[in-house]
Symmetry: C2
Subunit: 216 residues, 2 copies
């Protein structure tokens, strides 16, 4: 196993910031981007259910339509790759069965040996449906993927800007997400900062460790 | 800037899995743990508001009380460090002002020059309060921190198990979180896997890239 030194990890997490101005001329190399897509795919999720779709937008004309539905923030237009994080709404037995089939395939285990695990997942989904928390539970998983993606990008030297300030219904319509049972949650622009971005030169602001972390 | 090779990133993200059996005898070295706490502190959040408290539990007697309020999962007891991720409830002007004061201090900018940014944050909080989405918005940030933490740990060779299956009210009572205005959201056990953990040897299961990632 090849781990990384902790100071390298922290240097890159400190280097990361919410990029306001991307260099429109700089594109992420395809091998780097492939790794970032794979980091999305590998993101942890509850039961491993992966209740998501990631829509990667590189078409410049389409990117040009995004600021108007993102509070006029230009990052979506100027970045290299824009990712829309969408959640599966109303996660159901069909989704669970597709997942169980995939486990069976990848691990060479007959699907009927996975009945207990399947039942546990269906039980949790049924309970969450009763409680009215199914979609919010799955939406939480989207933010795990966002955190994974932002960290992975920083480690590869790629700038990002997470964007919650988007008009989700407009993104859904533009990308046709609703027809597939998904709903946009948030976005992330990825690319390379302009040196002229004033925010690139500001000190990172965090509360002191003693106010954020308690020990027991 | 020292980035890491993308295959090293992906190897570690593939090495990661939700550890079921930790080796109770193996403790995370203090310098490694300090880096993981710092990765939590550096996590991105909306406006940088850091609506969280991370409670790190290492006391063995306290850890021993956790399985009973975690669906009898033994990870919290057997891991080296257990982190409770708690969200600030009812984020308010006092929190914003504390943040603005911190920006002022860290960047050497008079607080009254930060009025526009302060107003924007307060406006978003007011709107979210009206919409009834304030706490869920802040809870989303907790999951960004969880994703950051799980990735950071994997890169440093530390095993983890994210745990949503906890009795949040019991954690709040045990740790006195409510008195401080916080509420537990989820937990993460961290330490080192036992080689006898059957899950350590299972293939990671993910849907094919073509089903998870769309390109436009």
């Amino acid at each position: 196993m090849n781990t990384i030194p902790s100071d390298l990890l922290l240097n890159q997490l400190r280097w990361r910031y919410a990029t306001k101005q991307f260099d429109p001329a700089k594109k992420i190399p395809s091998d780097t981007w492939s790794a970032l897509e794979e980091s999305l795919r590998l993101s942890p999720s509850s039961y491993g259910l992966q209740p998501w779709k990631f829509v990667v937008i590189t078409d410049q004309a389409l990117k040009g339509q995004l600021p108007a539905i993102s509070w006029d923030q230009p990052q979506a237009r100027d970045c290299s790759h824009y990712v829309v994080f969408a959640v599966k709404k109303g996660l159901d037995q069909a989704w669970v069965d597709r997942y169980v089939a995939r486990i069976s395939e990848e691990r060479g285990v007959p699907a009927d040996k996975l009945g207990a695990f399947r039942g546990m997942m269906l039980g949790s989904i049924e309970q969450a449906t009763k409680d009215g928390t199914l979609d919010s539970w799955q939406t939480h998983q989207i933010y795990i993927a966002l955190g994974t993606f932002l960290s992975a990008a920083a480690l590869l030297g790629v700038d990002t800007c997470p964007m919650e300030g988007i008009s989700r219904p407009d993104f859904d319509r533009l990308l046709g997400l609703g027809a597939e049972g998904f709903e946009s949650v948030c976005g992330a622009a990825a690319g390379y900062r302009l040196d002229s971005d004033p925010n690139a030169h500001l000190a990172k602001v965090r509360f002191p460790a003693a106010e954020v972390i308690a020990h027991r």
